[in-house]
Symmetry: D2
Subunit: 274 residues, 4 copies
């Protein structure tokens, strides 16, 4: 049975640890004091991101941080490392080890679409003084998050339009039973706009055409799809909602990370055996 070390991290790592415990021998440490040097581990799971500004592993659950070098000593020479949003600093620190960035995993991204969409809908419910039922909603993009939003918002009885780039987008919107509009021809009479496209769609010129009451929720990773500076100047209501899965559904989010690690480990073993 593989021995897995989980080092630091927020509630997600706690739930990830619980889920992995069903299959592996798991130890979760949140401070350097918990280290017992005699043990050696096959895998290390680090948080998202794995290092804070002090180049330490963050452990917010114990208001603490962990020393990467000490953690490294606990690993077997052929150990596998899982971390989210890895960078060169981390890769240099742990050079020689096989490192997987679980946030780059396509299945994880697909699974995270659901907590992201639910978190976005929660924001809309909290911010909007009208019901989603009957609201005019624009969603840009029909990727995983856009599709997840459509499925949820149809249940609310919202009046949904998807902004698409081409005839394939139009066809995909029809399959999902919603209206579509060409991204270039976006109208401005919406109660909410959910942006899921990481391109600058809502520039100053387009923002000017919208009513101040419209709520913009940007779900696209940097640089997002809304000109924030312009929106601020124009007095628009814009929320840039990043990292929603960990905030709104830490258990689900931790379990998704655990599932992803389990799948990668299974594939690795199959490849080794096959």
């Amino acid at each position: 049975m593989k021995k897995i070390l989980i080092a630091g991290g927020d509630m997600r790592n706690k739930y990830c640890s619980e889920k992995l415990s069903a299959v592996y021998s798991v130890k979760h440490i949140n401070s350097d004091e918990e280290i017992e040097s005699e043990e050696k581990f096959d895998c290390l799971v680090l948080p998202v991101p794995p290092l804070n500004e002090n180049k330490m592993i963050p452990a917010p659950c114990s208001d603490s941080e962990l020393e990467p070098e000490k953690i490294k000593e606990l690993l077997k020479p052929d150990a596998i490392i899982f971390a989210g949003k890895t960078d060169d600093t981390l890769r240099n620190m742990f050079s020689g080890f096989k490192i997987f960035d679980y946030m780059d995993n396509e299945a994880l991204s697909l699974k995270n679409a659901i907590p992201t969409a639910e978190g976005a809908v929660q924001i809309a419910l909290e911010e909007l003084p009208v019901t989603l039922n009957g609201s005019k909603i624009l969603i840009t993009g029909m990727g995983r998050i856009g599709t997840s939003l459509i499925e949820i918002l149809k249940g609310f009885g919202a009046d949904i339009t998807v902004a698409v780039r081409n005839a394939k987008g139009t066809a995909n919107a029809r399959i999902h039973g919603v209206k579509s509009i060409c991204t270039k021809c976006i109208q401005s009479d919406y109660d909410i706009v959910f942006n899921t496209v990481p391109d600058m769609i809502f520039n100053r010129e387009l923002l000017c055409r919208f009513d101040k009451k419209t709520l913009f929720i940007d779900l696209a990773s940097k640089p997002g799809g809304i000109d924030f500076a312009a929106a601020l100047e124009l007095g628009m209501k814009v929320i840039w909602a990043l990292g929603l899965p960990g905030k709104t559904a830490p258990i689900t989010s931790g379990e998704i990370i655990a599932e992803t690690i389990t799948e990668i480990l299974s594939e690795t073993e199959e490849n080794a055996n096959g």
Copy 2:
């Protein structure tokens, strides 16, 4: 054109006033200073509830309250009064006038089911550390609020069961594409329970069988359907969510009141003419 006076009230009354202005001559006052004695009105709209503990009309938007007697002097002798959750004190104060309790209106109750259900879902999103997608949810009752919850939660991809009383309830659940269970045979393995039935279903005995992680949201009017004292003792997580429409969707809620008043006035006129 009928002249309508709106006295006090929260954001709902403000939006109700705006909506009524499209059809009627409307004046909304929030303090005794705004009273101009020469005007006389055909209708008076009071808030929910119409009187506070000082027997004054609450006007929270101006941190003030209004004197009912002064308001009464502004009414024509045959004026119609609309108020929510009227009681004998109000009826005595305004004896001689025709009083409609708009909260007793069946169409208003049906319309309020949507903001109530959306508010309940918002609470669930805020409180639950897992996604609604895949969650096991129990809804008691298939009245207007239960039905509204079902429609919304289907979109989330939740695993929904409705507790029903009889074969008609079972059939109604099938029409809406969800599973049903007899109220007497309620199981206890749910992530969330939404109660919409104003009968004591979740007594101490039944609550004992539930996991502490289950979130109970009671939407039934007094006395509700959950034994709160027992739930408190048992350490259960219970939220008694009343008056959601005004809190979560004041614009929609105010517009629903305005629609209801407009319909009652139209019917009254038709009857007068017919």
Copy 3:
């Protein structure tokens, strides 16, 4: 264990018999030859309708018919009789016995709404040269069949409007996430009209305003809601679809009858014991 005799009937009675066999001792006969006189039964289940024009019990599965008098001799004096669409002829024939018309049972009607709606959608799919996706559809009424149609047609991505009588209908349409229109203001630009209301809504005057391409499917029991004579003269495409459950889903339909009989028998026993 109660002994139940099923006499004649179509495929529904066959499946009803199979379902009842799980709980009761059941004998299903389809011709007079199958009668064995020594047995006496607690219950008799007759088809819908129970008698043909010869005043015999129809048994189409054996191209035969059964003599009611012979069947009567097989019953215990306190036997209960279940039949669909009973009339005075039947009640006179079996006077002295307790007779339940299962087609009058409210739970059965609710359950039959689903096979009725599915049958109606099948007709629409067969008749229409366009997809239901994107089609403009009018449904009159939000009773059980109307609601069932709405749930199904939303999945197709149809553009649904419900014709309602009052503000309660409007509110109910909103809960189900569809548009509504006042019955008096019905527009005429629909691809399909499903009528579920047993009142004459589509009279000659209204029909005249519709395009010849519109498909009318009338699901209301006699006299229906469409002026058929006028529709014929005007060259409209009208289908009067009655008895759909038995035609399109005989197994489900037979099982619904069996469930209804089981429930009535349970209640009867409870009342007898209680």
Copy 4:
């Protein structure tokens, strides 16, 4: 204004012609007699497939066929040809002309997913003696047809499972609110199986495990995903449903072809101008 010649074809080509007429100068001919030699065309639209076994253009609406060589003489030297399911015979006949196979167009395939799924559901409604509501349904694949089926069948209240290949498939199923199972672990207790995957999934061994009552509907193009020979021997109920869009929704199908041609022509022009 571009001059378009539509030669032969079934109802789809008729409706394609009507739709194109809104934008172009269109002539639709169904027999050699209708040819007027003085006209020369910019585009030619041929049916699916463009040639019958006699190497003639089929024109079933006039019980006739057209001579390709005569049609060719009507084209300008730089004319563009649109045809469905083109082969070498056609390409040789019309060598020198630019030929587009509209059936290879990705947007058309996406759009055709809807009439295909609706046609498949129609078959299920016609064949099944139970309601889709409550039926256990397996769909293999979550491509465009699988997704379209899921959206429709959710509305029916069916109990849907999708067979998927990997964790991404599982995640996509969750987004759409349905259960999933690994293709290798398919169970056998389904009322209906819709296959949309063009791989041999349902081989003799797997088919053996299914009940004879299960209805198989194969929507995958040749060679399909079901071992038909084995299914026949085993007495399974299998329907291989190809070309559904043209059969069940000829107007929609013709309009989709017209839209595709319009888009290709616009892009061609833009490229020429740009």
